[in-house]
């Protein structure tokens, strides 16, 4: 099948055009004040001054804290769920799992909007229950950390369950027998065998939850939170005059991601973490 080698070349070109060249432009832009992307007409501008302003730093910090909390909660909830389903002696395991990840196919923004509406006074449930004479308490979580975190957990939980389930499902059942045979009780088997092997799934889950939480803006804005870094980048690109700043912040995020992946790559040398 070596004759197919040539087919990798167009992919390489495609990737160079859509990944490498834009990054180069991004780097050039980040030093300029431009109107749109007219990089050859731009003038030098020290965007770093803006970047290291209190506003941006606060946004970065807030984004990090929110996503860290959401990721930890997702992990705490998702691991037992994935573990229970993967180890269940139940024929329709896959059906239960698909039921849990099914909302991945419905619109994320709309779902966020739906859960956000519950955090506000006078939502569809309070009006429904009023009809039968029950007054539901108002949560008043809209635009509060509580509301943002709860909403994000609701959105991103399936992305944590799926990879952990996959890693647990793949574990050869005979490993449990072997561990039992070598004197480990159920608790020890979990800590010494199951958990270490599922670390790859956990890493994937963390990437899948942490990244969009920290850098996205759609979900957070629906929940009433406009103070995250994603919103900031979006605003910079809404206005042609501030493309340079937006480019610089995007670059910083890119560098952080590459750094994080480098660490993951050190731990997992085969690079099997993804999928």
């Amino acid at each position: 099948m070596n004759r197919f080698k040539k087919m990798a070349i167009p992919y390489l070109i495609w990737m160079i055009i859509l990944v490498l060249i834009p990054i180069v432009i991004l780097i050039i832009m980040s030093f300029q004040r431009t109107k749109g992307i007219k990089i050859f007409e731009g003038t030098f501008n020290n965007n770093f001054k803006i970047i290291f302003s209190k506003d941006v730093m606060q946004r970065l910090w807030l984004s990090f804290i929110y996503s860290a909390v959401v990721t930890v909660f997702c992990l705490i909830i998702a691991y037992p769920v994935a573990y229970i389903i993967a180890r269940a002696n139940f024929k329709h395991r896959f059906l239960v799992l698909s039921f849990l990840i099914l909302p991945m196919w419905s619109n994320t923004l709309l779902r966020t909007k739906g859960i956000a509406s519950l955090f506000m006074e006078g939502n569809i449930f309070t009006s429904l229950f009023e009809k039968i004479g029950i007054t539901l308490p108002t949560l008043n979580w809209y635009a509060t950390p509580m509301g943002v975190i709860t909403g994000m957990i609701s959105m991103y939980l399936p992305f944590m369950i799926l990879p952990i389930y996959n890693s647990l499902e793949k574990i050869d059942k005979s490993l449990y027998d072997a561990s039992d045979d070598l004197g480990a009780n159920a608790f020890k088997t979990f800590w010494k065998v199951t958990f270490p092997i599922s670390l790859k799934g956990i890493t994937t889950g963390i990437i899948l939850v942490f990244l969009p939480c920290a850098t996205g803006f759609g979900v957070a804005e629906q929940l009433g939170e406009n103070g995250l870094i994603g919103t900031y980048i979006k605003t910079q690109f809404d206005n042609e005059a501030t493309y340079g700043v937006g480019a610089l912040v995007s670059l910083i995020i890119l560098v952080i991601i590459i750094g994080a992946l480098f660490i993951v790559g050190k731990v997992d040398k085969e690079g099997e973490t993804l999928l």
Binding site: D172, S174, L175, D177, A178, S179, D180, D181, L182, G183, A184, N185, K188, K192, V193, P196, I197, L199
Partner: protein, 405 residues
């Protein structure tokens, strides 16, 4: 040699989803014995092994170890270790971690017991020559000494399986043979009373397999522990074992030494499964004489009734080729294959096919004269009627019975 019974299975039955895997099985395993369960796939040998290991509980019957009923004792509490079929090595640990796994699972107290107190104290003295203590050494020093001993044990176990210097290797970067050695080291380091081996050689190639057969046998002799070996390969069973248990359809067909099993199979299943056989219907004529294929032969078996129908087993290599005028049986060679050391001929006598192994070449189509020595003739009792015939009998009896469907 009266060795003590280590473990005894009494009337064990196990079924999965209504399919019976092991059926009223009785077996005992003695100290320092190499016992092999052999049979075709689905004969219940692995199920039996898993029940000894504690991975399955029998539906009926008793498993008795040292006089104690252990049916429900979980594997981690049994003094038994297993080498699994596809090794089941922990992929997240290296060779060292895999081998040390069992010992690391034990508590400090158990480990002191395992290594004996004198040895642990001696190790402390060796490691910390200036350390003074009253009564008991401190927990930290004890732990260090134990860790040192575990380290020694792991290296020793790896040395025993010829894997010195492989401590740091990831198990999935090892070859099948090396993985298998790690699996063995991982089990024997715990000094189990019984080592269970579930088709451990099945995934290896022929040459490696033959080497490992020899090495395993050596290891068993050196360690002096009981090996319970499961295989579907009859040759493997015969070469390695002290005792062979032939199983089929969840039932033990025969238990015996390899010689017994080969030379005196109890039924046609054993005769066919262990080596090749010619099975011929005959009639016992009394006085060590048996009649088959139109001739009377002398034999050595005598506990049959005069005129009883018997089955005669003759191994292909036991036939003697003799000149036609001295032959008792004369047949035509129908096909002939060279097998390296010998020729395999298919000989037709009165419409019945016989397999004959000889060292001489005989042309296909030629006549061949055969003879057989009395001690090469093995007689078996005529076997039970098969299921179809049983059915006929039942139907005849219950013909008028109610038809419930």
């Amino acid at each position: 040699m009266a060795k003590e019974k280590l473990i005894e299975l009494k009337n064990i039955t196990k079924s999965y989803d209504g399919e019976i895997a092991v059926d009223h099985l009785n077996l005992y395993i003695r100290e320092n014995e190499f016992i092999t369960l052999v049979g075709p796939s689905g004969c219940g040998k692995t199920t039996t092994l898993r029940m000894i290991g504690g991975f399955e509980t029998p539906d009926e019957g008793e498993i008795i170890m040292n006089g104690v009923l252990v049916n429900d004792l979980p594997p981690h509490k049994r003094p038994i270790n297993t080498v699994f079929q596809r090794y089941a090595l922990f992929p997240h640990l290296n060779a060292y971690g895999n081998v040390a796994f069992g010992l690391n699972n034990r508590s400090l107290k158990e480990l002191v017991e395992f290594y004996t107190e004198e040895k642990v104290l001696a190790t402390i003295k060796e490691l910390f020559p200036n350390y003074q203590y009253q009564g008991k050494p401190s927990g930290l020093k004890l732990r260090k000494a134990i860790n040192h001993l575990i380290d020694e044990s792991v290296k020793e176990a790896l040395k025993l399986v010829n894997l010195e210097g492989f401590e740091k290797r990831k198990v999935d970067s090892m070859s099948g043979g090396q993985q298998q050695r790690v699996a063995i080291a991982r089990a024997i380091i715990n000094k189990p009373k019984i080592l269970l081996l579930d088709e451990p050689l099945a995934a290896l190639d022929l040459k490696l397999r033959q080497n490992m057969q020899y090495e395993l046998k050596e290891m068993q002799r050196k360690l002096g522990i009981t090996f319970v070996f499961v295989t579907h390969d009859q040759e493997e069973a015969l070469t390695m074992s002290d005792t062979v248990v032939v199983m089929s359809k969840g039932v033990i067909q025969q238990i015996g030494t390899p010689e017994d099993i080969y030379n005196e199979p109890k039924n046609s299943f054993v005769a066919n499964f262990i080596g090749e056989s010619n099975i011929i219907n005959g009639i016992y004529k009394g006085d060590k004489k048996v009649f088959f294929m139109g001739q009377e032969f002398e034999c050595v078996d005598e506990n049959f009734e005069n005129g009883e129908e018997v089955q005669v087993v003759i191994r292909p290599e036991d036939w003697d080729v003799v000149p036609l005028d001295k032959a008792k049986l004369i047949g035509k060679v129908d096909a002939s294959v060279f097998k390296g050391v010998h020729f395999e001929h298919c000989v037709i006598i009165e419409g019945k096919e016989l397999i004959v192994h000889t060292y001489e070449f005989v042309k296909v189509g030629e006549q061949i004269g055969l003879n057989v020595d009395p001690y090469e003739i093995h007689l078996m009792k005529k076997e039970a009627v098969d299921a179809e015939e049983v059915l006929e009998e039942i139907l005849n009896l219950e013909d008028e019975g109610p038809n419930n469907e």
